[in-house]
Amino acid sequence: MAPTLTTDSEVGQTFVGTRTVRPDGADKVTGRARFGADFNLPGQLIGRVLRSPHPHARIISIDTSRAEALAGVKAVVTRDDFPDQSSEFVPAGEMMMNYKDVVRNVLAREKVLYEGHAVAAVAATSVAIAKRALKLIDVKYEVLPHVIDVVEAMRPDAPVLHDDLFTAGVEPKATTPSNIAKRIEIGHGDIEAGFAKADVIVEREFKTQPVHQGYIEPHAALASVSEDGSAEVWCTTQGHFIVRAHCARLLGMDIGQLRVTASEIGGGFGGKTVVYLEPLAVALSKKAKRPVKMVMSREEVFRASGPTSGATVRVKMGATKEGKIVAAFAELKYQAGAFQGSPVQPGVMCAYAPYDIENVKVIGYDVVSNRPKVAAYRAPGAPISEFAVESVVDEIAKKLEIDPVEFRLQNAAREGTKAAYGPKFGPIGLTDTLHAVEKTNHYTTPLDPWQGRGVASGFWFNIGGETCCSLTVNEDGTVSLMAGTPDIGGLRASLAMVAADEMGVPYEKVRPIIGDTGSVGFNFLTGGSRSTFSGTMAVVEAARQIKADLCRRAAKLWEVPVEQVQFENGSVKPIGEAAEKAKPMTVADMAKVAGKTGGPIGGYGRINAQGAGPSFGTHLVDLQVDPETGRVTILRYTVAQDAGKAVHPSYVEGQYQGGAAQGVGWALNEEYIYGPDGKMQNAGFLDYRMPVASDLPMIDAIVVEVPNPRHPYGVRGVGETPIVPPMAAIANAIENATGVRFTELPMSPPKVLKALKERGLNKPANGKGTNGGPAGH
C-alpha cells in the first residue's frame, strides 16, 4: 500500500479548525473581485451565438454571407471552423466524454438536438451589430419530431437522435439505433431470495424533472489569439486546465500555446466543468485577430447549458419485521440530454450506499433526448436515486412502526460494510450523523397539525486527483501560495490555514491565489469535493520541501550536520550536540539570507491525491403544509455531516447549508417546463423558481468529524453530500404532515394542492379544516 502522506509531528494546529477571515472577502463585498464578465481588453469585440429554435432538426445549410457583409462584423464561425473529432471517450468527471459529441455540442454539425443548440457565432464591434448579424445568418432546417421525457425516449418508436448510437451493455448486442445509450447493472447476493425473506415489501415509482444548477453568474469568456498562434482565455470555470485541454483539442492547438485564467466564480456546482463559449471565443478571436468577449444571458444559460437529468426511478425494498432490510432493487432511467453521458452510473452506485444490505441489484439506463446535454450537478445522479430510496426506507420504517432514525441505524453502513458497488468501507461517519440528529432538540420538538418532520441520509464518494500547489517564501518572510484549482467554496482560506500551520507563520502572512495554466502544473478541475482534500495535501508536500531546504541551509550556515537541525514552530533550530552553537532562525530570518544561502526559497507539491474518504450526511427537516394553497414552508432544517476534519468550519457549514438550500429548491419548486413544441417555457428566474433567503430558515449545521486516515489532517470532501438527502427528507416530512406520499418532484403548490383535494384533505377558509390534518410524530 502506498505510504499515507502525514503531517510532520511538530506541526501544531493553530489555524486549522478556526474561522479565519477569508482572503477573497474584501474584494467580493466591495465589488472589486473580477468575475468572468469583468475582464476586458482594448479593441475587444462582442461575441454572440445563433441558437436553434427547434428541439430536433437536420441542418440543410448555413449561409453566413449576409452576416459577414454587415459593417462591424469581424468574424463568423460555424461547424466548418471546427475540425470534426473522431469518436474517442475520455474521462470527464463522473462520465466518460466523447469528443465527437463535444464538438457537436459546441456547434451543431449534422443536426440540432435541442432548442438553444449553438449553430453559429459572430464577433462584432457592438452588441447591437452582433445581434443584427445573427438575424442575417440563414439556416435551413428540416424539422424532425422530438422527444423530451426519458420514458418516452426509450420507446422503440421514439424519434431517434443519433443514427450511430447503439445501446451498450445489452446482450445480444444492439443492431438498431436507439436513444438508450447504455444499460448498467451492479449488485451482489440473491435479490429474489432476499425478497422471499421479507415480511414487508414496498415498491414505488418516482419521477424527477430536470433542474439547473442555478449558478448566479452566467457563463462568460474573453479570448485573445495572437498572430503567433498563442492564445489567452479568461473565463468563469471550475477547471481552467480542462478548458485549456478542450479548446486545444477542438481547435487543433498545442496545449502549451493556450493560457487560461480562471476568474472568481459566481457558482458552478458542476455546471461549469464543461465548455460552451470558450472554444467559440477562441475561434472568433483567431479569425478576427482581435479579442472577443462572450457572456451568456440568463435565458441562454437555461436553454443552452447543461442542467441535471430528469429521471424515472423504480425502487423495491424488503425488510423483516425486526427491521432488517434484506433485499433492495432499483431501476434508474436518466436523461442525458442531447448526447450520451448522464450521471446514471454514480446514481446506481450511490442508491443503496448508506445501507448494509445482503442482496442488492441496481440497473441503470443512460438515455438521450432533445434537451441540453446534462452537466454535473453536485453529487451527480445521487440526489435522484436517493430521493427514491430514502422515501421507500421511510415508508418501510413507518409500516414496521420503527423510528426512522432507529431504522436507519439498524441498517446503516459502517466500517467494513460491503458497498453495493463492491469494496468495503473504511472508517465512515453515517451512524455518527444519525446519532447527532437524534440528539438534537429539533428531533423532539412537538409539531402542530399540518406540520411534519422528515429525515433522510445520503453519501458521496469524493475524489482526489492531480493537484499542484506552490509555496514561495518572499524576502520579508511572507508566503505566497499558488494553487491551481478554482476556489468555489473557500479553498484559498483553507490552503492558507494549512500552510500557516505547516510553516509556523501567521495566517495573515500567507497570501493565496489561484494561478493560471501557465503558472502552475496541471490541476484537475474543482469538483468531486476534491479541492480542500487534495489541495491541502499538496500544500503539506510543498511545505515539507521548504522545511527540509531551510534545515539544509541552516546546517551550512551553522556548520553543523543537517541531522542536528530541526524545524519547529516556524523556526529552524539547532538540536542535540549543536544546540548551543547557534540561535534559532525564523522563516523570515532565513528569507533575508535566501540569496546568500542558495537562492529563492520555495516548495512545490505535485501529487495525484489518493485516499479520499466518503462523506455521509443526515438531514432533518420540519415543514408546514398550507392545505388551502398547497404551499410548503420549511420551518426548521438541520444537517449533520461527516467532514473528517473541518479545516475552516464556517466554510464546511456553508457547504452543508448551500447543498440543503439547493435540495429544497429541487424538492419544492424547480423544474424545466417544456411545451408540446419541445421548447422550455420558464427560462428565467421569475418562472424557474429557486429558493431565496426569505424562503428558508437558518439551516443548522452539525459538523461530525470521523477523521479520514488517508489525509494528514483527516479531511474529507464535503461539498456534494449535502444535496443528496433533502428531497427525500422533505417528501418524508410532507407525508408526515399530510399522510400523502409524493413520488414526483417538484412538490410545488399546485401539485400538493391537487393531491390534497383529490383526497379531500384541503381545508376550508377558516384554516382549521374538517380533517384537522395529522400532527407530526
Binding site: 463522473e94 454535473a376 463492491g422 469494496p423 468531486g528 488517508r710
Partner: protein, 81 residues
C-alpha cells in the same frame, strides 16, 4: 494471489466472469493480466475505471501496489460536480 472482482458492465467483456485470482503486484500489472486473459477488456481498463484496493479507491494511478492477499474491485470511475 489478489482476489479481483469486476463491477458493472465490464463482465460483458469477460463472458460473464466477474472474479479472478491474480498474481498482480500493481494496478498496471493487474490491467496487463486482465487484458491478457480477456483482450476485449484491455482497452476499457485504460480510461474510465477506478480500482478499490482493500476498500480504498484509487483513480488514474497505475503504480499503486497490490498485496498478495488484497481484495481488489475494478469499478467505474467517479468524480462529481
Amino acid at each position: 494471489m489478489a482476489r479481483v472482482v469486476l463491477v458493472g458492465n465490464l463482465t460483458q467483456l469477460t463472458d460473464g466472469v466477474a472474479e479472478f485470482d491474480l498474481p498482480a503486484s500493481s494496478v498496471r500489472e493487474l490491467f496487463q493480466l486482465l487484458g491478457e486473459r480477456h483482450p476485449a477488456l484491455g482497452p476499457h481498463l485504460q480510461e474510465g475505471v477506478a480500482v478499490a484496493i482493500d476498500g480504498q479507491i484509487y483513480q488514474d494511478t497505475l503504480l499503486e501496489p497490490i498485496e498478495p492477499d488484497s481484495e481488489v474491485f475494478v469499478i467505474p470511475q467517479i468524480a462529481g460536480g
